[in-house]
């Protein structure tokens, strides 16, 4: 099967420290593999452990204590939330799973990676991209699409990395030296294909104007893509590799068998199918079509069964007679518990009856954290302990192990289970609660904010504790690298485990054998053993093709209706496009990360309409590129906020939120009140809109630089005049309601112009037309 020799020949070797009590677990023969990519992955882990741990703790603390960063707008919650997300998901947890996969893959394929250089390209391109992206986010160049904020440059680097991994993984699987592919390999293959596709689709952009890119989607389509992308990344980038590693490392460590082959087969295929459909699950009841909601709902509900099948196997694998280090067992047990809870919770709350209580609340975030940190992160940490033994040839000392896993488990339980889930549940109940007459029981949203604060604080405390665990993990990795045992000098070649011929087991005798039944019945009865799948698992191409087909069909039937909705919305009475000043206001809304805390989506639920206003329809979003539907309601929904407050209220609220809203956690945006906007920025925004086919007044776009003399006489360009007109209208409103005068040229004025239009747009004829 293998046509090329691996870079390092396969050997069995005994460990140099054999017999030393400290290395009691290492007395089994160790096969020699390429350690380079694994070691690099572990260094990257150490880096991200510190960065992501600190950023996560900082983000959650800043959310409840906005006054800590007053005067540093780039550190306000809305700005650093995307930073922590990318550092944790694409940085830390990805790095742990990638490092783990690079050893797991080689062991399961009985050979080194197809190309070592591609493995390095993968890790370097990916993590350089994420680090660069985080830096750009800090500089304020995010794309303001929840979960897909990275700009185009870093996105391209990540795409290169993920394609390199896909190619390398596929080729390694094709040229493996072991006949069948073990269960873990199925999960790795699907993860690689799915993530590459999700990343490319989710971040696809168009070049709107020279040097400017814009997301390729608009309106409901972009709202759907954002939510889908975030859900699918958590599922296919984090959960799938974590499950694959669990299937490899847990039985390997405990020595227990995987008890149900057919449970693994069912788990893999059904999780793939259900997961592909579940992409839009958080959008149940929103402006996207009911059909898409129903498909996503059933994807999530039916996921219960494959996930349970997996839990059955996990439970069996965790039984052990060996003496595993306590910290490893602790981590694996918490991963198991987290997975079982996710199984139940995410299926039950996906139903249309429970979605209102969980989507758009802290609950949805708690669920993501559960998969990322508890299942992905702790499985990754257990993987690191495993890698350390094989790559540094030293067992992690018990003390380090207990400190790392103790802090992580305690911290994450506090952050996710004690803090975030109850906050979400409380929010859902308070937001939706009405009495028998349909009267809201908690009409003032600030009550819902105040009630959640104590849970948010617990959550932030947990994240701080977990940050301690991550930093300890990084220190441990450095310490163990320093103490690592050298490569053994004597390599004993054993009979190579290459090209092990597959002996197909004979199926057990069927009870139907001596009955007068059709051959078909016999075949069906035999099929329940899933032995046919043993033949399937010899063909990586089958898994790659089937994954692509399943994803293509599932995503197709969910995206096409939404695309049709956007088209219909454009055809039937769309509202007027944003005016130049509103465009700038929207840009500021995006840059400050307002969507981190505020949604723009009123669902057809009585309590919600009473609280926020009319139900959101696809027409409301036609010009939104990117959509700002948001993720969860730390603050109230803003879809219909326009015209419910006067200009001065907004002005004061931006300057000092807690003065107008006692008990709020909104940070001050006082810098927007001082900074003047630049009309050149507006012109650039207009150009991107024109590139998308929206018609604006020609005169606004013509470059008519005025001479100094004209300027001296107070001449203004057409665009400046248009902006000034609307700026003065907003400024006049601020003055009328008691605010300061002459604020027509402030960034806050543009933001207020945008907010006052939300849910309150002029009809299409007022300004430009599509």
């Amino acid at each position: 099967m293998a046509t090329t020799e691996p870079a390092t020949p396969l050997h069995h070797t005994t460990h140099p420290s054999d017999g030393h009590p400290q290395f009691a677990q290492l007395t089994r023969p160790v096969i020699w593999y390429d350690e380079g990519p694994v070691r690099l992955g572990m260094w990257i882990c150490a880096f991200w452990a510190v960065v992501s741990g600190v950023l996560t703790a900082a983000t959650l603390s800043v959310m409840v204590n906005p006054q800590w960063v007053e005067g540093y707008p780039q550190l306000a919650f809305g700005r650093i939330r995307p930073l922590y997300w990318h550092a944790a998901v694409y940085g830390l947890v990805s790095a742990m799973l990638q490092a783990g996969m690079y050893l797991s893959l080689q062991r399961l394929c009985g050979r080194t990676m197809w190309r070592k250089s591609l493995a390095y390209l993968h890790l370097v391109s990916w993590h350089a991209g994420v680090a660069w992206g985080c830096w750009m986010l800090y500089q304020g160049h995010g794309e303001a699409r929840i979960g897909a904020e990275l700009p185009i440059g870093p996105d391209c680097l990540i795409a290169v990395g993920s394609l390199a991994f896909l190619l390398n993984l596929s080729m390694t699987a094709m040229r493996r030296r072991i006949t069948g592919m073990y269960i873990s390999m199925w999960f790795y293959l699907t993860s690689a294909v799915a993530f590459a596709a999700i990343h490319l689709i989710g971040n696809w952009a168009t070049f709107a104007a020279p040097g400017q890119t814009l997301t390729a989607y608009a309106g409901v389509v972009d709202g759907m893509v954002q939510s889908w992308h975030r859900q699918q990344v958590v599922f296919f980038l984090i959960l799938f590799p974590a499950l694959g590693l669990a299937y490899h490392i847990i039985p390997h460590l405990t020595g227990s068998p995987v008890r149900r082959y057919r449970a693994a087969v069912l788990q893999y295929w059904l999780m793939l199918i259900c997961g592909a459909f579940a992409g839009a699950r958080l959008l149940n009841l929103t402006a996207i079509s009911d059909w898409v909601s129903s498909l996503a709902m059933w994807g999530s509900v039916l996921m219960l069964f494959p996930a349970w099948a997996g839990s059955l196997n996990l439970k069996g694998m965790l039984k052990t007679d060996r003496s595993l280090p306590g910290h490893c067992m602790l981590l694996l047990m918490v991963v198991f518990a987290g997975f079982v809870w996710w199984t139940l919770e995410s299926s039950v709350t996906a139903t249309r009856w429970l979605t209102p209580y969980t989507a758009m609340t802290d609950w949805a975030v708690a669920r993501d954290w559960l998969v990322i940190f508890v299942v992905g992160g702790l499985m990754g940490t257990a993987t690191i302990f495993w890698l350390v033994q094989h790559v540094y040839r030293i067992a992690a000392p018990r003390g380090w192990g207990m400190v790392v896993s103790g802090l992580l488990v305690l911290g994450l339980l506090l952050q996710v289970v004690v803090g975030a889930y109850p906050a979400g549940g409380l929010q859902g109940l308070m937001e939706m609660r009405t009495d028998a007459m349909g009267v809201l029981v908690y009409p003032d949203f600030l009550d819902i904010v105040r009630a959640r604060q104590v849970w948010w604080k617990l959550s932030a405390g947990g994240a701080a504790l977990a940050a301690g665990g991550w930093v300890a993990l990084a220190m441990m990795l450095v310490f163990l690298r320093w103490r690592a045992a050298p490569k053994p000098a004597v390599v004993v070649q054993l009979s190579p485990p290459v090209d092990v011929r597959w002996v197909e087991p004979t199926p057990p005798p069927s009870p139907l054998a001596d009955k007068p039944v059709l051959g078909l019945a016999m075949t069906l009865d035999q099929a329940k053993h899933f032995l046919f799948h043993l033949r399937w698992q010899r063909h990586p191409a089958l898994f790659l093709t089937a994954t692509s087909l399943i994803l293509g069909v599932a995503w197709g039937v969910e995206f096409l209706p939404v695309v049709a909705q956007q088209r219909a919305a454009l055809r039937i009475a769309p509202p007027a496009p944003y005016t130049p000043l509103e465009l700038l206001g929207r840009q500021i809304y995006q840059q400050e990360g307002c969507a981190s805390c505020h949604t723009q989506m009123v669902r057809p639920i009585y309590a919600e309409v009473t609280r926020y206003g009319e139900v959101s329809r696809p027409e409301d979003f036609v010009w939104d590129r990117p959509a700002q539907w948001g993720l969860r309601r730390v603050g109230p929904d803003l879809a219909k906020v326009g015209g419910t407050k006067n200009g001065f209220w907004h002005w004061q609220h931006l300057e000092n939120p807690s003065q107008v809203s006692p008990g709020t956690v909104m940070p001050s945006f006082a810098h927007l009140l001082d900074e003047r906007f630049d009309v050149e920025d507006i012109r650039r925004l207009l150009l991107t809109q024109v590139a998308l086919g929206i018609t604006y007044d020609e005169a606004w776009l013509v470059e008519n630089e005025l001479t100094a003399e004209d300027r001296a006489y107070g001449e203004m360009t057409e665009l400046e005049q248009a902006v000034l007109r609307q700026g003065e209208e907003v400024a006049a409103d601020i003055v009328r309601s008691g605010g300061p005068a002459n604020m027509f040229d402030r960034k806050a004025t543009a933001l207020i112009a945008y907010l006052q239009r939300l849910g309150n747009p002029p009809p299409a004829s007022a300004t430009g037309t599509p």
Binding site: L108, V258, R260, S294, P443, G613, T644, V660
Partner: protein, 198 residues
């Protein structure tokens, strides 16, 4: 274990062929069978089953239940005055107030960006009827926003009654009085033809 077969050689993990538990198979089959019926029920175009229609029906029923007793109210002096004396209906007004008004007028009506509603002075109100008018049409060129498109007439009347009932409660931390002091709400209107409010 007789039904154990080797799947992976590299790490000698053995994989066994135990059957799925019966409860798993049965529940899974049940749910897979329910799924098409659900999709058929909701997505074959029968009227009244889409999310938005379902919401509209619920909203209609709640409104009917809520206001069956009082019917369609008119924002007149007598009606508003009448409802300031009905605590169970003031509760509905209070809910509307807490949802939409507290951000400017304060949690107890003590004022903020908007004027204090718990003292005796009013900026645009000369009679109890004007309260409903100001809420509905807005005042001072929308410094007080117009709510007529966002609230039903019944809600307008009830929130007006609630605001009227706040008069003279002097909530702590109240903003200084602005405007003029109109006669007590239940006093006979001084001159029906004179006041146009504002």
């Amino acid at each position: 274990m007789s039904d154990t077969f080797p799947v992976s050689d590299a790490d000698s993990i053995s994989v066994a062929d135990q059957p799925m538990p019966k409860w798993w198979t049965r529940l899974f089959t049940l749910f897979v069978l329910i799924c098409p019926f659900y999709l058929l029920y909701f997505h074959t175009g029968a009227p009244g089953r889409s999310e938005i229609e379902r919401y509209e029906r619920v909203a209609f029923e709640i409104t009917k239940k809520r206001f069956a007793e009082i019917g369609e109210l008119q924002p007149t002096r007598a009606t508003i005055l009448e409802y300031t004396k009905k605590p169970n209906w003031l509760k509905v007004g209070k809910m509307v107030f807490k949802t939409h008004c507290v951000s400017c007028h304060g949690r107890n009506g003590e004022g903020g960006v908007g004027p204090n509603l718990t003292d005796d002075a009013y900026k645009h109100v000369h009679d109890i009827e004007d309260i409903a008018r100001v809420i509905s049409e807005g005042a001072n060129n929308n410094a007080m926003p117009a709510w007529k498109d966002k609230l039903s007439t019944n809600e307008l009347v009830l929130v007006a009654a609630y605001v009227a009932s706040l008069r003279g409660t002097h909530a702590p931390g109240g903003k200084a009085a602005e405007g003029s002091v109109p006669p007590p709400w239940d006093a006979a209107p001084a001159d029906p033809g004179a006041g146009d409010g504002g």
